[in-house]
Symmetry: D4
Subunit: 163 residues, 8 copies
């Protein structure tokens, strides 16, 4: 695979079952990516290093997933000028997902995180494609096709339900 | 000003006092933008038109702010392949902001909105700069300077408080 | 069946298991209806078309069900003068139903949605009957009988429990 | 005024400052209405009487506003076959409006209340007009004009903001 | 059994699996009681009658359980001078119990309901005993013995856990 | 005044502006009472003593108000067989009253607290009268008169609003 | 085992399956501890005694777990000068854990409880070790090793995921 | 002042009006401390440095206050073996404090933060004293005196209110 444009990171390998949906979307859109584990709380120095080197390695977008008191997306955003997409994961220790959502979304002025829905890793992948597609016509066309697919699936369901 | 790269839209002119912070940030980062009112509920056809033409007009990022049952960001996202940044506005009819946040954040799989904090219009501007800066070194450098400014302000406060 | 008076629409065929309760009620009350899929986010142009043509097709009430960031009921309400009944669906991506409820209920001034309880599709059907029954004595009588049935069931349970 | 088609009731005269918006809308749409106080908890027998006689008096829609543990809309709905629109009022004893919303919205299967947004009395008036307009072309036309007005106001704001 | 001192009522026989715990406690404390179904929404006239006759029938305390938009306890309280204990039931249509709790607890000034914990029917039974025990030494002694039992169970658990 | 039948206690003198409404109601109903400060956290031994002696001193009902992590009502209930009415106070350190409500309402099985609405001290007074009135005809008659007053006030408001 | 430095208490033996994680951590860190049941509501006098004697018995930290209206941690804190760590337990009677969290966390000024995450008994054990480790180099070294273990586990997962 | 035993840090000088209460308590208890600004998001490298050097500088407890998506306490805890007390600050950008509370409290297993009440900086100071007092008799005695003061204030209020 060519150099990754998107870095998908998560706080724990237990988040992988949610976060793999982001990877599947990027594969579908033929956008090169990498996947790894970076824990804000268990490997803080690795997190500082990862975030600090991302621009230089050619990464365009970072997707970071975490649950509970989810500090990874916001901390990475504090350490890079790249857009960081945060995926609130409804982990086993989360209070119905509210902690994951609020600790990613409610960033202070100056350090935004592009937050998607709870467990919305597929949408994180699409948002990364939206960003890259704004500058890359191949990806933009793939996105248009994808929108058409979504619409076609609805129309197929319409046919079934109305018959 | 040259052709706008960012479109800032909002559901009502009463949202302007919150949303103008996005415009100020883009001015600071020397990113051309436009500001207008597009109401999902009062001008739905205008919304369809605006979203449908954005790519063709050279827009790279759309920032959409709305409050209460806030449908503008998600509906625009359904009508474009561009990244859409949603700003939940704590409008006068909102229940402490929860409706604004949830109706922007919790988009279904396939149509993401990059949601920022409640009333976080400044962060929406910075996130737009993060996106553009991933492909534009001038903006990227501006972002690095901005991060330095944020840090310098903290250190100045440290000096005052520790003296 | 004669021309439909009620249009039951939903954002996805996965909502059908909840929304079919509305159809069952309308059948019981002998009110002609139609059921189809109209997705605000995946088929926005279909939604505009559906809502715009409903009055002309003789529809009197639209029942719209959706979950998560549920924009369908409110967007349809923005595009028609008919009463729109919104059913918040507790879909798999919903945060305990709060997003579904708030993004349907908290509509801005000017564009109401008649919101019923979470997953309350049966009540949406009854509410449509209440509306039609205000102008149609046959339906009004059916509603009176239905109220009697509800009461009779309680009294039967009373007999069982007190014996 | 001719016989009222809409009955606007509320639990306390302190709700009048919120509920009068419903009356203003109905005046605008030239729909005859009545306004009175009916308390579920302080005048339960009056409530039973009011709800029981509404159909016979020619009322087509009841708008009921209440706050806190708001039982008026649901109890009235249990006593009539007419559509009942519930307005959750953020009264002084309410916990941020959540009690008002939930005790009106979450009605059990069989007895729906058409709930509008917190303090959404204007929308209750419009919804009553939607219902009546489905059977009355004069009101339907008024609603179309009203939608045009809402749109025009947005376009006027657009002109101001873009200049 | 002698004349009932406590009336246990509930909105639906589906609440019986929760509410029977109140009956078991009253049996244990040898307090005569009755159990029946009284639905605020499906049998409103029966509710008015039940509440209106309770004092005359020698009832001292009413325990009322209901879920969702739970109006039974508050409506009964509006129709009697007896203390009414409300049990919020987490019914199948409830949003995690919040609607049940708030629509029972948040009664307006003038008409209190003595609310116990979600699904806390056993505690409703004990509270009824607290009330009756304030005037009846036999019940008061039973309550003292019960407190001792609760304490003894803890001490037995202590023995097991510390060994 | 004769021996108090109701003990009104609260965690702090700052709660007095809320809790005095309970005293006013009891005065109106001519029920003798006492008012004092008993802090669960600052005077735990005084609390144990107060609760332990209440029955012997002829108290029939204890009304306990507290805010934030409000332990006073529940702890007093653990130390007496009397009915304890808990008033959740929206104190300055409370998160919108939710902590006060939940830490009073959600008592474990075995130790009920009769919880009233947030800041509902007047209702606590009325509930105490409901309890005493179940055994005292004078108080019961006062309660009937009070219900009539509430109703009369509504009818006076009706006259004003309908004129 | 030598004299316990940490007392682990809980309101009920049903909390043991959560709270045993605290004991396991203390064993791992070789810190002597004791485990017992102390119920605020069922054994209030035992609680007063336990809290009052803890300092004299050489205890340095108390870990208290409870659910629902969880008064044990705060009441113990009111009766000792030792640091009290509170573990909100998501017990069967809890409303999604919110009652447990708020009734432990939101203590009034003067009587803190060191609250950890919902069901966070392992973290309570580590926090006790943090406290003891501030004065005991052996424990401090164990904590450094533990942090290294956490980091190593992440790196092992990285190896697996990146391969 | 001798070498600080407690480090009070906060994310912004705007938090100082809340956090200064911690400093006042430590002064009262004669515990040496330092106060400074350390922003997780604006000065991440300074945060890593501060947390990494605290043990070596003789600090025994760190008190960290932050609001919104509050990452400072948890990130500092990930970088030191000292006990970290987190103060959720209800900052201007916070959603009623829920984000501040959850993003500090809900730390993952392995990295605890001792969380106190919203804006509970005074309690953070007392908790630091509880910790130090477990190993320092002078501070322990000060804490006993402080508890006596709290109790005396209640008794003085009792005298006023009962007179």
């Amino acid at each position: 695979m060519s150099n990754p444009l998107v870095g998908i990171i998560m706080g724990s390998d237990s988040d992988l079952k949610v976060m793999s949906a982001a990877a599947e979307i990027l594969e579908k859109f033929e956008i090169p990516f990498e996947v790894t584990i970076v824990s804000a709380h268990r490997t803080p120095h690795r997190m500082v290093e990862y975030a600090g080197q991302a621009v230089g390695r050619g990464i365009k977008v970072i997707i970071a997933g975490a649950g509970g008191a989810a500090h990874l997306p916001g901390m990475v955003a504090s350490l890079t000028t790249l857009p960081v997409i945060g995926v609130p994961v409804k982990s086993s220790n989360s209070i119905d997902g509210w902690d994951s959502v609020l600790s990613i979304l409610q960033m202070p002025s100056g350090i935004p995180v592009a937050t998607v829905a709870l467990n919305g890793a597929a949408n994180a992948g699409i948002l990364a494609a939206n960003i890259i597609g704004a500058y890359d016509e191949h990806v933009s066309n793939k996105l248009s096709e994808y929108k058409q697919e979504l619409s076609d699936k609805v129309l197929t369901a319409v046919d079934k339900i109305e018959r």
